[in-house]
């Protein structure tokens, strides 16, 4: 049963929700400016996809998200590795990190626009800043959660600090890093889109605002639909990465059974 749930039950639930939506709109005669019917949204989406400029907006958003995310991954793993390995450094910087983590990053958008302009760069920076923290904190956690027994083995083998890092701490941190990346890719997508909402003239976030300003609510729903698909594709890409990076991990093989 469990095996078929994802392929049978999930689409059924989805279909049911769409039906309820259609039913609600028809029975209560909801204005299409408030909530357009699902079929109209579908047509608007197909319409959007037939216009070449939609693809350039998608490309911009993908670029901002992926570039920001990759920067966050690299800096997050490097910083997390250093802080996880060097205890005094972590103790020194910890209050600062917590402070930065608590700070609402979205509030920095006006500043980023002043610094990096209305173009994609300010969104790349926002996506990176917003997705950096879960990746870094998970890297630190993963490095610190090495089992005592594993540490004893490396100690008994008289391994150097670098060898212990490379063979044990980093490997131990990989499943944690991937969890951080799963959270991070979602946050990076949100960062890029919110950035586009608030400034600039490119990307799907901008399209959503533009269609709303033109009172084309149906098209706005279409844009949101595209955004959801985009987010899902990026998320699943990271999830698939887990299988390649940690084939030994239980979370990987248990889904394969």
């Amino acid at each position: 049963m469990g095996k078929y749930a994802a392929w049978v039950a999930t689409p059924l639930v989805l279909a049911l929700l769409v039906l309820i939506w259609q039913f609600y709109v028809v029975v209560f005669e909801v204005s299409p400016f408030i909530l357009p019917p699902p079929l109209a949204v579908w047509h608007a989406t197909v319409e959007l996809l037939s216009e070449p400029k939609t693809y350039s907006h998608i490309a911009i958003t993908v670029y901002e998200t992926v570039a920001g995310f990759l920067i966050a991954v690299i800096i997050g793993i490097v910083f997390g590795g250093l802080l996880g390995k060097i205890r005094w450094l972590e103790r020194t910087l910890n209050p600062l990190i917590v402070g930065l983590q608590v700070m609402p990053k979205v509030a920095l958008i006006p500043l980023f626009i002043v610094w990096f302009g209305f173009g994609p760069t300010s969104k790349v920076v926002l996506a990176a800043v917003i997705s950096f923290f879960p990746i870094m904190t998970n890297t630190i956690l993963g490095m610190k959660s090495v089992e005592t027994g594993h540490r004893d083995v490396m100690l008994a083998l008289n391994a150097s600090r670098w060898q212990t890092f490379k063979e044990v701490e980093l490997q131990n941190a990989l499943p944690f890093i991937l969890t951080g990346m799963e959270v991070g890719i979602v946050l990076a997508t949100i960062g890029a889109i919110v950035g586009e909402y608030l400034g600039g003239s490119q990307g799907l976030g901008y399209m959503a605002v533009a269609t709303l300003n033109a009172f084309d609510v149906t098209s706005m729903f279409g844009v949101i639909f595209l955004l959801t698909i985009l987010g899902l594709v990026l998320y699943f890409f990271v999830v698939m990465l887990r299988r390649f990076v940690t084939p030994w991990h239980e979370a990987v093989t248990s889904t394969r059974d």
Binding site: L157, N158, V168
Partner: protein, 284 residues
């Protein structure tokens, strides 16, 4: 092989524990005045005191004692995992510590097996076994060959490419022994290596360990709280008394090798067991 030989042994006599016991053999491990204190909030706790012991080349020494007698602490001191608060440890006539730093030459002679197999889950069995060689910069092809050889020796041939969690507890512990032997150390240190295994697997592993020891010719120091296991495996048993841990008695086990499982039902074997049991009970 001949239990009759064991039966002919006179009732075992406890010898006073002192330095002279294996003076005739070359000392592979030499402990002098080893003492371990732990600092707690208000006072120091003496965990282990006055350990003076020579362990001979090729000897199988078992550290036996009740919990809290410091036997694991002593093994960790010999393994270089812990620096004793006073006293010295020499491995093959080389000091284990130079002030606060481990002596690489002495550490190279040691292989350690813990109660848990401690396999790294992200490495295949062969990579786990060959890790000590990788750390020493041995090329990959050579590591593969050595891992295959060791898998055969410890009886897990054919499992080289598996992940550790695909193996049973006993097989993982065999792999841990193979890993400890990969660099051909002169000394194998084992901290209750079969404590986490079921009784039947444990008997089988004891037989295997005896064979591996006889094949490799290395010196073994093994910690256990099982009297039966101690008598079965040991050349000499060092009994430690608790609080603080100190050397109580040394018992020579004069049962011919190789020993099989049935030796455990002979009179000689049971005499050793009984005598050790009585001594252990006297601590309580």
């Amino acid at each position: 092989m001949t239990p009759a030989k064991a039966e002919m042994n006179p009732a075992p006599e406890h010898q006073p524990a002192d330095l002279s016991v294996s003076a005739a053999k070359d000392a592979m491990i030499r402990l002098t005045g080893v003492e371990q204190r732990y600092k707690t909030k208000d006072h120091d706790v003496l965990a282990l005191t006055d350990v003076n012991l020579n362990i001979g080349k090729g000897e199988f020494l078992v550290l036996l004692g009740p919990s809290g007698c410091g036997k694991t602490t002593l093994l960790r001191i010999i393994a270089g995992l812990l620096q004793s608060t006073s006293g010295t440890v020499e491995i093959d006539n080389k000091p284990l510590w130079n002030k606060k730093a481990r002596n690489d030459d002495a550490m190279d002679e040691l292989g350690v097996v813990f109660q848990e197999a401690n396999m790294f889950p992200w490495m295949t069995i062969e990579d786990n076994i060959a890790l000590p060689l990788k750390l020493r910069g041995v090329p990959k092809a050579e590591r593969r060959a050595r891992a295959a050889e060791l898998c055969k020796m410890v009886g897990i041939e054919g499992f080289e490419k598996r992940w550790p969690r695909q193996l049973s507890g006993g097989m993982r512990q065999r792999a841990a022994i193979a890993r400890a032997l990969s660099t051909k150390p002169q000394i194998l240190l084992m901290d209750e290596p079969f404590g986490a295994l079921d009784a039947m697997t444990r008997d089988a592993m004891n037989l295997e360990l005896q064979r591996i020891w006889m094949e490799s010719g290395c010196t073994i120091v093994l910690v256990t709280h099982s009297i039966r296991e101690a008598v079965f495996l040991a050349d000499r048993i060092l009994l430690l008394s608790p609080r603080p841990g100190r050397m109580d008695t040394i018992t020579d086990i004069e049962i011919e090798r190789p020993r099989d499982t049935y030796v455990q039902s002979t009179q000689g074997f049971q005499d050793y067991e009984l005598s050790l049991r009585q001594r252990l009970d006297s601590f309580a």
